[in-house]
Symmetry: C2
DNA sequence: CTGAAAGCGCTTACAG
DNA sequence: CTGAAAGCGCTTACAG
């Protein structure tokens, strides 16, 4: 196994200095055309590649972004939430379009996040993506800020902290989808999802939901709100509690598609027809949403755009530009689960 | 913005040499307990992190694995195939369990794969994952071997090349699922999927399928095989060709779940009942498979195990150990689409 | 147990 | 346009 060629090997073969090789390979205008071509030809022949560790060490940057994907530890699925998986795909693509590498690492929300700091060392910046108890999370954000780590995150806007977020307009999304179902004639809405400051995104969806109700002269009944985190199982359990409560309802707004899917399973097990007996709507528009029976009406979050925005903003931040938080609109995807 | 502390800063503060700092931080047994604790305390206080570029340059390794995810360019979905997304998740988790970072990059199957070589420079090894025309792909494998790149790949065994693969026993999976449907009383099987050396995995599934037919005294009718790549749309189109062909069939074996889902859409649009009129089975067991209507019977590929095996084998390879190709069994997941 | 020193492979001011 | 040289921040033989 011959060892990898270095720029000195090429210099030797080309009969020039190592400095010139380095310049030629970087397409420096200082280098004579002829010399450059000669050097590049030899480099190609030897299959030479610049050692990134050396060049990064020298230039003090890495052309690498780290993605921190964290999850609520109460979710013991070995599967990652499909919504975040979709974000992961879109971020990966956006990075490669920008010529950046992407370092991916998983974190438990309740862990020490040692890795984030380590990663911040191998990467020029961080993208934070995941879910879990927001109050735990906020603590970690403060740490990152203190470390002067450059990062952006997916989620609701953070008040009182200098953090760049990209997220969806959860309030408006919740408003819009609720209003749609109201127009279909439903009156008694249950909400499945944590609606507290522990889950700001869900809370915003809930507040939009409530606003739509009151604007339409309906009352938001707090006894029809049941906590759930974003898993199918949690949605199933929340729907069972709802059914056991004896409360009257003809519509369910689930804070995420996964919750909606679990709720639908619970309802169908009870012999209830969706949407005739109960309309069900979700949030996210994960890929499964269109394939289940009945297909799920939902508020779509544009993951492709989201990934691009996150990467663009982080790169701008790294360049030292001014960057601001951005809310994206959601779009209503009407399928059969809501009665039309 | 203060610059990052180095080991010299710590040495200065601790009143020891920089060498000792380095040793202390690496928990070298050579260092006095007391000195070590002192150094580590200061490092923690300054929020010092070892510069990976420097240490990697010095040690000539990176504790990083690169994942090359490539796709057939004919698939213009912005979404990644859910099966590979699931593999991505499992590989990411397996890497972090082993203390390795994962660099993810997308490649177009028809591109030059420049990045693979570049990545091989930032990473200790490569994992190849994706689909596309196998014949194009083989050429690239030869290049990698020539570069003496250490890599493992997901897929069918490669003959005549020294390549480590981890894959499923596609032949047996195809056999098993076909036999199950035969036992349900079906006699006329269509196969949707490319069945040629351009797609070795699909071909193996097809061959297993044919073997099950002949072992059960049925004939594999080549006019009931329709090409499809692994997308919903391609499955939809293949099923339409099947319907238009006028051939008689009471069962479809789709080479992947995505193809099956597209085929089901085509059948249902024609008013055909699944499974009463036509049994449909797929391959992979992607997450959607259990949620569609009717739920899809399929041959499950264990992505969690696959990710772990890929990472384990690559790390063994990096350690210079002997590693061999491995086939994993698939497991039959029986749902309603096949008539039971 | 500790320190002085070499060197990993680059990039880039500096001098010509 | 080119070369000699410094230096990025570590790790680790070598000497004590």
């Amino acid at each position: 196994m011959k060892s990898k060629p270095t720029s000195f090997d090429i210099a030797h073969l080309a009969g020039v200095s190592q400095s010139t090789v380095s310049r030629a390979l970087r397409n420096s205008p200082l280098v004579n055309e002829e010399t450059r071509l000669k050097v590049q030809a030899i480099a190609k022949e030897l299959n030479y590649k610049v050692d990134k560790n050396a060049s990064n060490l020298r230039t003090q940057q890495s052309a690498t972004i780290a993605l921190l994907l964290f999850e609520d530890p109460t979710n013991d699925d070995s599967l990652i939430n499909p919504f975040f998986l979709s974000m992961l795909g879109s971020i990966t693509k956006a990075c490669s379009n920008k010529g950046y590498d992407l370092l991916v690492s998983f974190q438990q929300m309740n862990s020490d996040w040692h890795a984030d700091f380590e990663d911040s060392n191998k990467a020029d910046g961080l993208i934070l993506l995941g879910y879990g108890d927001y109050l735990d999370y906020e603590e970690k954000l403060k740490n990152l800020i203190e470390q002067q780590t450059r990062f952006v995150r997916w989620g609701a806007e953070v008040k009182n902290l200098p953090v760049i977020s990209v997220g969806c307009d959860n309030f408006h999304g919740g408003y819009q989808i609720t209003e749609h179902v109201i127009k279909k004639g439903r009156r008694y809405f249950a909400f499945l999802g944590v609606a507290s400051s522990h889950a700001p995104e869900f809370l915003d969806r809930y507040l939009g939901h409530c606003k739509a109700l009151t604007n339409n002269k309906l009352t938001a009944n707090k006894s029809l709100q049941f906590d759930a985190i974003s898993t199918e199982e949690s949605g199933y359990q929340a729907a069972q509690k709802l059914l056991a409560s004896g409360e009257k309802f003809d519509a369910i707004f689930a804070a995420s598609d996964l919750i909606a899917i679990g709720a639908m399973r619970a309802l169908q097990e009870q012999g209830l027809n969706i949407p005739n007996d109960v309309a069900v709507v979700g949030f996210d528009d994960i890929q499964i949403a269109g394939c289940i029976n009945p297909p799920l009406t939902t508020a779509k979050q544009n993951t492709k755009l989201a990934g691009e925005l996150l990467v663009d903003k982080l790169l701008a931040l790294i360049q030292g530009e001014d960057v601001s938080t951005q809310l994206m609109p959601t779009s209503l995807v009407i399928r059969k689960s809501c009665g039309s």
